[in-house]
């Protein structure tokens, strides 16, 4: 049996997904750190080790993401948008719109039933429009990144923020804490700021249900709930929202590795 791998080297996190046929065998997620080349190697090795496989068992590797070219063992590099589209269609065949909240950018795209991306908008490379905003705020409030979503849901009195810049929001958050505002209320206010930016991107590309949220930002339940409220629809969430592009890359690798004619659509 042949295995294929998709590896996604993001600006903040690197992910690898090992599949066989179209079944996921294992996956691994780790911070990208400063050396993408070493990370690209390590994330693949870790994912293979989880499935008790070695590189000899691997038929084809597709790399994607910001640092894709650092994955020197990859057979091919594919744009992250193509991989995201493929991954979204595999997990949610009914999805027609996807919001990807990554470490540097937020992207909203429309996808057809085959996983082909038909339209997209991307934020500027601005911390306030990306998952980086959440990291900055979690740090300044001294809350673990993975806890900010749950904590913000406890908010009863959202703090309004005057700024859309992560740097200015950071100092505004410090002032609010000094004035006695609760962390959950600040987080809820900041989720509003980010959600408003994302909402305007969704409006630009056009919302067609079902809509799915992927990328690290999808792990923030507070942000997702705020987006659901402002978009007026339920959002679908993958179990592992960070690995969708890597999964898509693996599925594309599978098509390459499979003998011609038997490739899945």
């Amino acid at each position: 049996m042949k295995y294929v791998i998709g590896v996604d080297i993001g600006s903040a996190f690197s992910k690898a997904v090992v599949i066989s046929g179209d079944k996921v065998v294992s996956h691994h997620v780790m911070p990208s750190g400063g050396n993408y080349r070493l990370t690209a190697k390590a994330v693949v090795e870790k994912a293979l080790a989880k499935a008790k496989l070695s590189s000899k068992d691997v038929g084809y590797v597709i790399a994607t993401g910001y640092g894709a070219t650092n994955a020197t063992t990859a057979d091919e590099v594919v744009t992250d948008l193509s991989c995201q589209g493929r991954g979204v269609a595999y997990l949610f065949p009914s999805a027609r719109t996807a919001i990807d909240i990554g470490g540097q950018f937020t992207r909203v795209f429309r996808v057809n039933e085959k996983g082909k991306v038909t339209a997209f908008v991307q934020s500027e490379k601005c911390a306030a429009g990306s998952g980086r905003f959440l990291q900055v705020i979690a740090k300044v409030l001294q809350v673990d990144l993975k806890d900010i979503g749950e904590l913000s849901l406890k908010s009863k009195n959202k703090v309004d923020f005057n700024t859309g810049c992560a740097v200015f929001a950071e100092s505004e958050a410090v002032s609010r804490v000094a004035e006695g505002a609760k962390k959950e209320d600040i987080l809820a206010g900041l989720h509003r700021t980010l959600a408003a930016k994302i909402q305007s991107m969704v409006e630009r590309v056009g919302l067609e249900p079902d809509c799915v949220v992927v990328g690290g930002g999808a792990k923030d339940i507070g942000l997702v709930r705020d987006l659901e409220k402002s978009l007026g629809c339920k959002l679908l969430l993958p179990e592992e929202p960070q690995t969708v592009a890597a999964l898509g890359a693996a599925l594309l690798a599978e098509e390459k590795a499979a003998p011609s004619g038997s490739a899945k659509k």
């Binding site: 490379k125 911390a127 810049c165 992560a166």
Partner: protein
């Protein structure tokens, strides 16, 4: 009776007060800090002490800047655009374009006959403001006031590809770890701000002479970087932080003279030199 005028400029980072008659009698610059609502009167008291004047001798007080609504003893609030224009026109009469790089914003003001006729402003994004430099300096472990000189030691400015302060800071830290020289990085940061400010300024047509004011004007490396973008030298007032406060005091004087000329009583606020309270 002799008349005195005070200008109070509460910036995001620094608070400035000047007391004038026909020229500047006293000036004080202090950090705004998180308690800026309480600070205005302390800085005012200090300026009065320097000028050897009691508060009741001040004929008119104009407040300006980001925190101008938090000056309870001011007779009038006037936007910083008008005050900067007035102050620069007084100090450097030949200037037609003012570039102000403040702690949390940057602006360009076009002057005609001593008044602002057009302006552009960025207060939405830290890039292109003093804040950009402050954040990067802290991350690099360099004192803000040392950056200007340090950049003169640069052999080749490092090119910074990110506009966003958060990502640019990360970028320079990476470049430092990859072996780039600190002065080259600092010079690159100055270029990044100059580029950002220059692209904002293109929305108003830049006309000579150009003055640079605000805290950014105290950074000689940034002044040189902007001059390189503009292609000519800029003028810097002797104390670039004070132009807004000077303009405020002068506009106060204009208001008083105008009222006297027309023979109408001056409408003044009921003034008490007291602290503004936080939640009123």
């Amino acid at each position: 009776m002799k008349q005195y005028f005070a200008g109070v400029d509460i910036g995001s980072t620094m608070t400035k007060v000047v007391i004038m008659d026909d020229s500047v009698l006293a000036s004080v610059i202090g950090p705004t800090g998180p308690e800026h609502r309480k600070l205005a009167n302390h800085v005012m008291e200090e300026a009065l002490k320097k000028a050897k004047l009691p508060f009741k001798d001040i004929t008119y007080v104009v407040a300006t800047g980001y925190g101008r609504i938090n000056v309870p003893f001011a007779d009038k609030q006037i936007t910083e655009i008008s005050c900067h224009a007035k102050g620069v026109a007084y100090l450097l009469p030949e200037v037609r374009t003012v570039i102000d790089i403040g702690g949390q914003d940057s602006k360009g003001i076009k002057l005609k006959d001593g008044r602002a006729v057009d302006f552009v402003m960025n207060d939405k994004c830290a890039a292109g403001t003093g804040r950009f430099l402050e954040v990067a300096a802290e991350e690099l472990g360099v004192k803000l006031q040392d950056m200007g000189k340090l950049s003169f030691e640069a052999k080749k400015a490092v090119s910074i590809s990110n506009t966003c302060t958060v990502f640019a800071t990360q970028e320079v830290v990476t470049k430092l770890s990859e072996g780039a020289a600190l002065p080259d990085i600092v010079a690159g940061l100055h270029e990044a701000i100059a580029t950002r400010v220059y692209s904002m300024l293109r929305r108003i047509k830049i006309e000579r002479e150009v003055a640079l004011t605000g805290g950014g004007a105290k950074n000689i490396g940034l002044v040189r970087a902007l001059e390189a973008k503009l292609g000519f030298a800029v003028q810097v007032p002797p104390e670039p932080l004070l132009t807004g406060a000077i303009g405020a005091a002068l506009l106060g004087r204009d208001i008083v003279k105008e009222a006297e000329k027309k023979g109408i009583p001056l409408t003044k606020a009921e003034r008490r030199l007291t602290e503004a309270s936080l939640f009123t």
